[in-house]
Symmetry: C2
Subunit: 326 residues, 2 copies
Amino acid sequence: MKILTKKICLFLIFFLILFLPGVYPQQPNGKYTIVIHGGAGELDPNMPEETKSAYLNSLSAALNIGKKILENGGSSLDAVEQVVRYFEDDSLFNAGKGAVFTSEGKCELDASIMNGKDLSSGAVTGVTIIKNPISLARLVMDKTPHVLFAGRGAEELGKKFGVDIVDPSYFLTSQRREQLKKYMKEKEINKDGNTVGCVAIDQYGNIAASTSTGGLTGKMPGRVGDSPLINAGTYANNNTCGVSATGQGELFIRNTVSFNISALIEYKNMTLDNAANEMIFNRLPEGSGGIIAVDKNYNYTLMFNTSSMLRGAATSDGIMEVKIWK
Amino acid sequence: MKILTKKICLFLIFFLILFLPGVYPQQPNGKYTIVIHGGAGELDPNMPEETKSAYLNSLSAALNIGKKILENGGSSLDAVEQVVRYFEDDSLFNAGKGAVFTSEGKCELDASIMNGKDLSSGAVTGVTIIKNPISLARLVMDKTPHVLFAGRGAEELGKKFGVDIVDPSYFLTSQRREQLKKYMKEKEINKDGNTVGCVAIDQYGNIAASTSTGGLTGKMPGRVGDSPLINAGTYANNNTCGVSATGQGELFIRNTVSFNISALIEYKNMTLDNAANEMIFNRLPEGSGGIIAVDKNYNYTLMFNTSSMLRGAATSDGIMEVKIWK
């Protein structure tokens, strides 16, 4: 009887040592890094002071939302979703409310999110009635076996999941209507950019990335850029890094920009900075865009080959910065 | 005067040596390699002999279309487009006519094509009235500054370009209707696969790749798999290789399968075979799919972790094979 009890005790101890670390979450390490962007472009440095302040205030507000989540031990996934939701609700940015117009004068919205822990991903493209495309992308990731839904199918899914549905007119702003008119007259693409994105690594070492956009002013209906495409506009992998891109989408698709930065780290042992530099300055033409990224060691980079990128970064080391130009 | 004439002559000779090779096309080298697939899956080896023959005959016919183009010095782009057009018109395959049904009993078609010479790419997703989605993808690549169009926008573009438009009922076949009924009852995904693809390198060393599919039986409307996604389902780069994938699309997106094979060759100096092996057997789970690929040295590989992949290969060295199982 005594031997049996001893055996049971030994078995229990063995079991606890073996399986508990897998069942109970890892201890938080107190560290985090979060980076955000509100689009790479050619913003005029002589813009009115109040516009400048509005951009910087919005960037700070968005960054603080994510920072707070991470400080409190929340997940990077929640942080990158909530930050992008904030941008989508803010009409200053080309995502959600305030998105640019298609050639038909409508908004067609794209968003994607990726979980670096298991490479699970969710994305939507061409939605017109989903208030927060990034949250629908999160639901695609969490609640379906799929990655990407387009158009009406994505919207039906959103209704099924009970996300906030709005009239398509909700997204329209007079500023974007003016931009479309100007584009139709001059056929010159608006260089404001204003796609939004967020990348973060949390206290458990999990990396997540998200991107949301209305695409290009005057775009042909149905055109899909890089933002809703995992590997092109968004990528996250706990073994390497997380990336969110902004710029001329087609170039970012053809050059697999987001995944490529991860591949250069994984296969060529590059640092995050060197990998981002290789993509942004050696492979992409000047003026084509930028990326924000964090790596598994809590480093970050904000890199662009345009004259401006609305951007910000916050870390557990006390860094907290928001910027527009170099 | 004499000296001036001499100088002009020397300048002209210098000019001819320097610039003519860039203006006039490279000489054909007499070599080519072309590979095709009609989907990875779990086809029953005990299928009726006439079904087996029908598959093998179709594969041979498709392969011969591409082979002839390449033999005659045609481009790999033309070869991969025409081969996939043949598959789209053949109701045996899950692409174009004979595509699988969505949960709503419709066909939503996806296709993509990529040019390894300059990484230009074209793709469409969720089209329902375009007879040959691969040819619309080619037009997106050749005639627009964009890469991907979805749904109605893609269809409007097709009408504008004057491609063949058909009634959505054109694609529907009784065999696929039965598969949907079975799926709705048993909720078991049809393992026939039957996505189609083609990769080729022509006599000028240009690589191209193409993929076309109806997706998954009973898929939710709007679901986008890997086939229309450059980097996931299709990739081509003259410096490395070309790839077309078939299988559980979501896994192929999350693992960036097609581009990753190119990245392993470029960054890790792997052979085509080793790179394909790494993706298909080490990174993807058993039963998830396969790829066909050619590299810049005219090597090819046909690799799958399912029990069957309808496939074929032809080379200027006289290889000509079509196969279903290992």
